[in-house]
Symmetry: C2
Amino acid sequence: MSFSPFCFTLNSLNANDSTLISAVRSGDARALARAISAVENRAPGWSDLLKALFPHSGRARVIGLTGSPGAGKSTLVDQLARVYRKTKNPHPVSQTARDQFTRNQGGAPADDRYTVGIIAVDPTSPYTGGAILGDRIRMQEHFSDPGIYIRSMATRGSLGGLARTTADVATVLDASGRDVILIETVGVGQDEVDIVRLADITIVILVPGMGDDVQTIKAGIMEIADIFVINKSDHEGAERVEREIRALQSLSIRHDGWTPPIVKTVASEGVGIAELAAAIAQYEAYLQKENRALKKSVENWQERLVEMLRDAMLEKARQQLGDGNVARLAAEIAEHKRDPYTLVEEIAGRKL
Amino acid sequence: MSFSPFCFTLNSLNANDSTLISAVRSGDARALARAISAVENRAPGWSDLLKALFPHSGRARVIGLTGSPGAGKSTLVDQLARVYRKTKNPHPVSQTARDQFTRNQGGAPADDRYTVGIIAVDPTSPYTGGAILGDRIRMQEHFSDPGIYIRSMATRGSLGGLARTTADVATVLDASGRDVILIETVGVGQDEVDIVRLADITIVILVPGMGDDVQTIKAGIMEIADIFVINKSDHEGAERVEREIRALQSLSIRHDGWTPPIVKTVASEGVGIAELAAAIAQYEAYLQKENRALKKSVENWQERLVEMLRDAMLEKARQQLGDGNVARLAAEIAEHKRDPYTLVEEIAGRKL
């Protein structure tokens, strides 16, 4: 039987498909795309795939970047990816598996630079749920470098599932041996806050001249920032934004004692990106002390575990109800012939 | 035993407390405040309260208003409330119960104008979850008119619970005999989309000069608008916003055949508010035809029912796990000694 990693289809997903698993682990881009699609679309076999990949994850550094539309997130992420691709990785995590696989395929071994995975969470319609054109443009630009893998996710109107799916996709990328995973998202709603929370390091991107209302919204985002970036810092008002951040910082001290640094960038010209990478490395070193990284991860997993359980229980409840029954019961409630609170208590078998 | 509706405490909530129920139904503001707090905070007895109130709800017209920060939502909502307070209600829904109660208290009977309930969903931090100062200012302004009741809700970081709690609070207001319920929220994230979806009528507020990025975000909001408002329409660029909406409308026709009208307002000066009320009345008349209102309500209840079931199942799962166990299991997952997918399948008793 010939060994070809380039012919997986969604239908062929199978926990026993060690070929797909090892192809993903080797970092093969096509296998990775198939695996991510399966996980994102909850295709049959997705959970078995994650079960098999999970033990090989947990080694990547996951960096979340959030900011308003127009803050220049994509440009900053691209620039950061470039810097990592030029940086020698002292501990290449999956070199062995990757080289093994690549040799089997007759290819050249992977390089010794940091490899990067990018997950771009699309802020467009929860209803159309489309993929973004920009993604393809960016893909093309990096096409020649297999060390950068870009994937965009649509913000579907699923029941709180976006953060979870993003986390699962990050797990796949992680298991594929990517050293750095950059998750970029628009920082406004709860979904986005949940997404950046799954990161080891959270970067909040601000820009000068966004007006007071926008800054007000960001109050919530302030509290999750490990590093602040003032992008477009050559624009008027950059000093003011910096003063505002410092003022907010002086009001509340983080419980872990870390004071988030403020890095000024002009991402479109590559200015300040090396400084940002240095700030990230500094926070990373800080996380390694006193088991802080593990503590953070345990906290995140407490939330994620409960969310996963919620979704599983919901599916179970939905199956128990049956689709036709939901429609009939909803009609009875809409006509106020039945009250939903009693009904849910009856089905769940417990008091609300 | 004396009959005093002004001495309910959270502790005294009780399904058999027909005093609280009838006080809420009569529209008594203090009882209403207690009941809403109980529902919002999930205080003991909250679900029994809703069970008792639900059969008396379903008669109010629920209007959702959404727009970016700075779009002038609060001002518009206040102005709309004023218009309704000046409009004679041809079918006062709870006149009887209210008058009965008011007479018992020795007060004057309610007036014959539309009564209004306002729910303002606060877009501030999901972490601090604070109430807004503006609320108190607005409360004071309307203090002399018991026909307007204002309540603000904090956007807490609860697991997708904000939309549900808002819906429950709307049910309480509805059962209290408010003729019109205005729900105002910042239209950006999924949470907010869920909130406006529970409304019978959804109004999307745009303003001139918000820039292209902001308009891009609104693409998702576009699809849920029954009526568009261009507020601050005396500002430059109002015509352009109108052209953009028309252009987007020409691209997709709503499946129910309704073409959302565009109303221009200057809320701060009360301009266009009567026209907005007329547009609302027009859409309402449209909803009455061919059972459209009921159909919409059935669709909404299908989603809400599943969400309620999800939350109930989650609580059940959480109890089964126990808090200490969650922490221990999260630690094992964080150390990659255990995979979460297998664990969740084991607890939920079904394949993911």
